[in-house]
Amino acid sequence: MSRSDASKLTLFLLFTPFVLWMLLLIILPQIGVGYLSLREKVGPGDYTFGLGNYADFLGEPVYWNTLLRTAWMSVLVTILALFAGFPVAYYIAKVANQRSRAALFLMCLVPLWVSDLVRAFGWIVLLRETGLISGALQDLGVIRGPIELLYNDITVIIGLVYTVVLFMIVPLVSTLDGMDNSLLEAGYNLGGSRFTVFRKIVVPYAMPGIVAGSIIVFMLTAGSYLTPILLGGKNSMWFTEQIYEQFVTRYNWESGATFGVLLLVFTSFVVWLGLRLTGQSLASTVAKD
């Protein structure tokens, strides 16, 4: 066997798992969901094809309100995570000295490895009527009776930012890490104020990290299930909950698949729009490291 034959063979061998994975676990299943979403039930065991499930979705304001609400809250969470995470990432990458930065980065990573459930659970223990904050406020005499801090939108947002902010910090740290401090120095020497230097040098440099973090955070938030449901309670109105309900509680797979397609298309559209507006591409941001 010649060398080029061997090389072709290894290329083929390397390609096989990739193609099987992509085809069997990603592409065909997505097509399957798309197919299912176009199937309408007209009678027992009798189906036709059409856009009926999508019409049902549009005809029921609760459904599209939930989708819009999920998208809007996810955007809000993404922005908050960016604003909360940026100073931290900047501190770790640029301000802290060599030794403390590793420790700080590690401290950021530890909650990342704890499951969503445990984190949501911690918030419940903290915020519920008989929880720590309510108890502490009563002991301090700020409030008379116990207060319920769970089951409102602010709590859901605080909890969501908490679960995703680390996914913002990690890409930001790795981009800011590559920035040479002499760029900042040059900016000051040319007479820039701190704000100008930040706006004209730091932010453009960090852009790939900002976009990567925002994409991951947005998708994670829009697709999250536990945090909105556990912290938001019965009326959290989260879209993944609707999907779960259609699939598992009502066993209405056709309409669940429709919801799935809509969520994916809608969130992809938001991400695409974000990439367009910032002039970045998926491969150059998310997959950078």
């Binding site: 290329l11 061998l13 390397l14 390609f15 798992p17 990739f18 994975w21 069997l24 676990l25 990603i26 299943p29 997505q30 399957g32 969901v33 299912l36 100073p87 931290v88 900047y90 501190y91 640029k94 301000v95 700080l104 590690l106 401290m107 990573l109 909650p111 490895w113 704890v114 499951s115 459930l117 445990v118 659970f121 911690g122 419940i124 223990v125 519920r128 929880g131 720590l132 108890g135 908490y162 401090n181 900042l184 120095e185 994409i215 994670l220 697709g223 299930y225 556990l230 999907i243 779960y244 699939f247 797979w253 698949a257 969520l263 994916l264 998926l282 491969a283 998310v286 997959a287 490291d289």
Partner: protein, 287 residues
Amino acid sequence: MNVAAPQSTAMRWIYLAYMLVFFLYLAAPLVSAAIFAFNDSLFPALPWKGFTLDWFFGSTEPMLGLFHDRRLMEGLKNSVVIGLIVSTLSVAVGTCNAFLFERRSFPGKSLLYVLMIVPLVIPGVILGISILVFASMIANGVEEVFGWEWDFLRPGTFLVVIGQFSFLVTIATLVIAARLRKFDVSLEEAALNLGASRSRVLMTVTLPYLTPALFAAFIVSFLMSFENFNTTLMLVGSDAPLTITMYDRMVKVGSTPVLNAVSVFLMIGSGLLALLSIFAQRGKGQA
């Protein structure tokens, strides 16, 4: 002098205070979940009734500890089994992918690379339902045409493994590819020039260099499999992993301190594993 740091004293203090508040925010729910695992009370709530380890080791109702709770231990076992299988598969396929994308050139490479990243940004619930739908289609088809019952394609451990694998491959690939990119190809060429065969070079030069990354990818996949909820939720059968068991307990019984005990156990366990993966990447990684 660090030009990146704020220069005025007031700003520096404000910045430090912000960092402090942020880390308090990070720690608060974890610490508060942990505290009540040691409260001698039937509810994970105030008032504090004294220190106990019963929620870990207690063997009688109502204070049945984590280590004697059959369902929770069952869930833990399922999680470990699923995690080990998924991580092994992900590292194996991830290694192939890393070699494919780092070493080879082929038409459409950049497009396929984007495709490789995509599972990372598809919401977990959607990955879950798509695999559920596809597997059921195959199972129904096979049953209709051949009359075979392919039960492994119905919700259960096999589908959970497949579902988690579908996105963990991407993560494993990225971790391994990052290290492969730093590898100096001339080392391989030198070995080839000295007469080693391709497979021998792979076994004695390339793979040993990659080992820390393979190890790290394995641990990262294991941790992510262990904590995964969204994808698993749609695919789970009767052998539920720990996160699902905990969630069921929480929805049905309400939160009890034994769940706090499980949380403490998970925090310590995943913290240790995460540290291990960081040291694996760093320790030998400098060579």
